[in-house]
């Protein structure tokens, strides 16, 4: 659930923090033996710093028994969100456990479906999308914005990206069809000379 009840930090400060995400938060999350950043440990440390006692089941979400390579982008977003969470402004306010869990699981998982994690650091629009999603899921709106304006801006920036994604996904489907058709042509099946045939 997204609300904009409380006044949060100024957006530029959060965007600047995102742009300056240290390499430690941009590493490769450990999934199925690959990657070296243990996301539950990273999140656990940050949440404890915030004075929160993270629920083990929340952390376990980021160490699944069965590796799913499509989780990688979500886990990377969670790592970047951990860097935002470690911000001084937030640390002083002790965010509630419920919204925090919602952000890390549902919120970032949804975002992972439409935004590549590294772009939330390097691309201005995607940076803003993460910053606004982050604040909204925790119940904040950027300082100096009304709740309505914050909601509108987040909808606008997300919708534009979703539209782009839908178009890209349609194009990808079309392309895959064309590749399959090209492979199935008689001329393709007749193939071409090789000096050896495996």
């Amino acid at each position: 659930m997204t609300t904009f009840t409380d006044i949060g930090p100024p957006l530029p400060a959060l965007l600047r923090r995102l742009a300056e995400t240290p390499a430690d938060f941009l590493g490769e999350p450990r999934i199925g033996g690959l990657g070296d950043v243990v996301v539950p440990a990273l999140l656990g440390d940050v949440l404890e710093e915030l004075g929160l006692d993270p629920a083990p089941e929340l952390l376990r979400v980021f160490a699944p028994d069965r590796a799913r390579r499509e989780d990688r982008n979500w886990f990377q977003l969670a790592m970047i969100a951990a860097w935002l969470l470690a911000d001084e402004w937030l640390a002083e306010r002790h965010p509630a456990a419920g919204p925090l869990a919602d952000l890390l699981t549902r919120g970032l998982r949804e975002l992972a479906g439409q935004v590549r994690a590294d772009l939330t650091v390097s691309d201005p629009d995607r940076r803003e999308e993460l910053a606004r999603t982050f604040l909204a899921r925790l119940g904040y709106r950027p300082e100096g914005e009304s709740a309505a304006a914050a909601a509108d801006r987040l909808t606008m920036i997300s919708a534009a990206e979703r539209r782009r994604l839908i178009e890209a996904s349609r194009a990808a489907e079309q392309r895959a069809r064309e590749v399959r058709e090209a492979l199935a042509r008689k001329a393709a099946a007749e193939s071409a000379d090789k000096w050896t045939r495996e």
Binding site: A192, D193, E198
Partner: protein, 449 residues
């Protein structure tokens, strides 16, 4: 180019001399029944690019460190290939790229083809492999033609450079199976030397004796085939001596290699090659392993989770890169197994074995693996064999019909390895077989080259 291809499409640059050679190969009085048509499909522009690619080849890898080109390759594949784009940002290290299996490719190969690849001239090589996942490997006439550069590199290790040009037959590809795709063509990069792909199965000939007559008449510089077709070649009354034999597709036993070398008085190259990436390595008897051939193919050996293993450790062969620009691979699990080593500035695959390991329980209750079985039988000139352990612990040794004469020695060799077990011998039909299988409860796993 949606219907039946024309000869202009099959041989875009064909000269009059090339046309005459095609006619000679096709209409020779002892020629087989050619059942199909294909060609090199190379335009003049393609040929120039194929030759430029050959000139640009760097040396094969000498050590195991990831080469410099790999980083850009990873970024490029994550940007242009739909399957990888869906995984997010490119990892900084190759080790963090998840390994993909043949099953994943076979599930939807289209997702592994780069977005910007023109499709008009795409061709395919069909492969069923031995894992049962039928797959159409996307390719291009230039990619098929690039094989020759690596064959030359492999031949050079044996002091041989192809020389046959116009009017002569450069290579004869032999099969021994029904059905078999057969046709004639010319190789533009070799001044239109001839290429004949024939089937040694008697059903493809007016007179079975024509097989030897045709090969003798065409005098191919090289003969390419697999252990099954080479075993058949040994039975023919041939006078012609090619300069080398190129064996691919299946494990070549030391015994069959020795028999072929003695019979034809030429080197027999055991090439490790896959439709997905082309020639990977050639066996060097002096080094005891397959020497890597490609400069832009990174070869790793990985564990069950796809994690890279150190040199000397046995595991699955995983490849990245390659010259097939229609299918740029990243950490592709080949299903074959071996160990990596560097010897004298060369990179080698030792103990190359086709597909996943299978364990067999011997007569003393100890576990033996398929590599040990291969070693036990390798001195025999077997064209092809399979070994199945039944649920009751007994064994069934499948032998190609021509190898049944070796049954006694093969069973003795297996008893030497497995001890007191029941072994029955069954004749195999032609074609590919799962080489190793076990039906012992949860140990059941299979697959063979």
């Amino acid at each position: 180019m949606t219907g039946e291809p024309t000869d202009e499409e099959r041989y875009p640059t064909l000269s009059e001399a090339g046309r005459q050679l095609l006619r000679h190969m096709r209409e020779h009085p002892h020629a087989p029944i050619f059942r199909n048509a294909s060609g090199n499909r190379l335009t003049a522009g393609d040929l120039a690019e194929v030759l430029a690619h050959e000139r640009s080849l760097g040396p094969p890898p000498a050590g195991g460190a990831p080469p410099a080109w790999l980083r850009d390759h990873v970024a490029d594949v994550y940007a242009r290939v739909p399957y990888y784009r869906a995984l997010g940002a490119p990892p900084a290290r190759l080790a963090d790229v998840p390994a993909v299996s043949r099953a994943e490719l076979a599930a939807d190969i289209a997702r592994f083809v780069p977005d910007d690849l023109p499709l008009e001239r795409m061709i395919n090589f069909q492969t069923t492999g031995t894992t049962g996942h039928r797959m159409l490997v996307p390719s291009h006439p230039q990619v098929a033609a690039r094989y020759l550069a690596f064959h030359k590199r492999a031949l050079a290790r044996f002091g041989i450079a192809p020389t046959y040009g116009a009017g002569r037959v450069g290579v004869m590809l032999i099969g021994h199976q029904q059905p078999c795709f057969t046709y004639v063509s010319v190789t533009p990069a070799m001044d239109e030397s001839g290429l004949a792909k024939i089937n040694l199965h008697p059903g493809d000939w007016r007179d079975p004796a024509d097989r030897a007559r045709y090969i003798d008449a065409l005098e191919p510089e090289f003969i390419a085939g697999d252990p099954l077709s080479f075993a058949e070649l040994l039975t023919l009354d041939l006078d012609w001596r090619p300069r080398a034999l190129l064996s691919v597709a299946m494990m070549l036993s030391d015994g069959l290699r020795a028999a072929l070398e003695e019979r034809f008085g030429c080197p027999v190259l055991d090439l490790y090659s896959m439709n997905e990436v082309g020639p990977i390595g050639v066996f060097d008897p002096a080094l005891g392993g397959h020497v890597l051939l490609q400069d832009r193919l990174f070869v790793e050996v990985g564990d069950e989770a796809g994690r890279a293993l150190a040199d000397g450790e046995e595991g699955e062969i995983i490849v990245s890169g390659g010259f097939n620009f229609c299918l740029p691979l990243l950490r592709y699990r080949t299903g074959d197994r071996g160990r990596l080593s560097s010897v004298g500035g060369e990179r080698l695959i030792l103990d190359l074995e086709g597909r996943a390991p299978v364990r067999f329980r011997d007569g003393r209750g100890e576990w033996r693996n398929n590599i040990e079985v291969s070693h036990a039988l390798k001195h025999l000139p077997l064209a092809q064999f399979s070994l199945l352990q039944r649920a009751d612990g007994s064994f069934e040794l499948g032998l190609a019909e021509r190898s049944l004469g070796e049954a006694g020695r093969a069973v003795a060799a297996l008893h030497g390895l497995l001890g007191p077990v029941l072994i029955s011998v069954v004749p195999q039909s032609n074609g590919k077989h799962l080489q190793y299988r076990s039906e012992l409860g949860s140990e059941m796993s299979e697959i063979g080259p």
